[in-house]
């Protein structure tokens, strides 16, 4: 296979003899392997690898933070803290996790910390006053063991749902059926009603309902097969 034909910087339409699916599989694998190698090198205190990591991810993290924080100096600080946070978490970082998503998650937490320090956290927006229970909840420290059990359970449930959805989406992509992905994404990620999805995509409500029903059934079955209950997910109870 001539890999050059999938070069993203091609100035003309490249032939795609293997179709979109091959590009998706190839480029995702390459990115993950490259990141994994970088992390291994950083664990061995390789300064060049650390520099490469920063060069690779700083721009997108900066854009992500800047979306919420308009102060450029604060943005830079948050991005710096995110990288330092990542470095500090390295002993516990699972190489199987996608690095980019992990970095975005850390940046999200740093944004939250910044907003809290500046009185702009969403919980503070929802609070009715300094003595509101919700406001106090920001400082609530539940027992470590109960938090650990709860998080562990949620992680298992999330993984089961992600696997089921991932398989479903991969199947649709392989068939070139991106419209189904749009339907499900609007229903589940945006929380749109069936009628709004139907109107937006110019299909019938029945078609939307069928796609939703089939997806819910598949995901619920997968969650049960994993020995878990789909009841914690509101969407799977419809």
């Amino acid at each position: 296979m001539d890999l050059c034909q999938f070069a993203p910087n091609a100035k003309q339409k490249a032939p795609f003899p293997l179709g979109f699916r091959a590009i998706l599989i190839y480029t995702r694998s390459m990115s993950t392997d490259s990141d994994r190698l970088l992390v291994q090198q950083i664990r061995q205190s390789d300064a060049r690898a650390w520099e490469h990591l920063i060069a690779r991810y700083e721009g997108r993290l900066f854009a992500f933070v800047h979306r919420r924080i308009k102060d450029l100096a604060a943005c830079e600080d948050i991005v710096q803290e995110s990288f330092i946070g990542f470095f500090t978490s390295l002993p516990n970082y699972d190489d199987g996790r996608e690095l980019q998503t992990y970095l975005f998650t850390i940046a999200s937490h740093k944004i939250t910390d910044y907003l809290r320090r500046n009185g702009r956290h969403p919980l503070q927006q929802a609070s009715d006053g300094p003595n509101d229970l919700l406001h106090l909840k920001l400082d609530d420290q539940p027992a470590a063991s109960s938090v650990a059990r709860s998080h562990e359970r949620q992680a298992l449930e999330s993984d089961a749902v992600a696997r089921a959805l991932g398989n479903l989406l991969d199947g649709w992509r392989a068939q070139g059926d991106l419209e189904r992905i749009k339907v499900l994404e609007l229903l589940l990620v945006k929380g749109w009603a069936n009628k709004d999805v139907a109107k937006f995509l110019r299909i019938s409500e029945q078609q939307v309902a069928n796609i939703r029903f089939a997806a819910v059934k598949k995901v619920s079955e997968h969650v049960r097969d994993a020995g878990l209950s789909p009841d914690v997910f509101p969407e799977l109870q419809e």
């Binding site: 979109f20 998706l24 300064a47 920063i54 700083e58 721009g59 830079e76 330092i84 994404e185 749109w192």
Partner: protein, 133 residues
């Protein structure tokens, strides 16, 4: 009306800046919405989470960076070009928008500024590697 899943995405910091601003304005003006947000937080505390949140956090439908680059160049097949447009504009994926902003910035004259920024991040953190040795 702001759907529950949008509030969930807001708590996950996964909305575009436009949607984030809309939600924050709505929260400031609407007690019912604030009550809904509190209810959502309580549900989360009880261990409830949503399929939509899993989808967002694990970025199940996000195109990778190479695909975003190809989208920017307009060299993808029409269906894929259309899907990425949908994912960026209608879903408003904050992570993909950040990648796009970075790709666009690389094409403009902001590259030297970005390099200086990265150097500052490296300079402030390189000492961690030395202390690890």
């Amino acid at each position: 009306m702001i759907p529950r899943e949008t509030l969930s995405a807001y708590l996950d910091d996964a909305l575009s800046d436009v949607e984030t601003a809309q939600v924050e304005q709505a929260l400031r003006q609407n007690e019912t919405l604030r009550r809904q947000l509190r209810g959502l937080l309580q549900d989360r505390d009880r261990g409830e989470h949503s399929v939509g949140a899993v989808w967002r956090r694990q970025r199940l439908s996000c195109p990778n960076r190479e695909q975003l680059g190809s989208y920017l160049l307009g060299v993808l097949e029409p269906a894929q070009q259309d899907y990425i447009e949908f994912h960026l504009r209608t879903i408003g994926c904050a992570f993909c928008q950040a990648n796009m902003a970075d790709l666009q910035a690389q094409q403009q004259e902001t590259a030297p500024q970005a390099q200086q920024r990265r150097k500052r991040v490296f300079d402030s953190s390189a000492g961690l590697l030395k202390s690890k040795k």
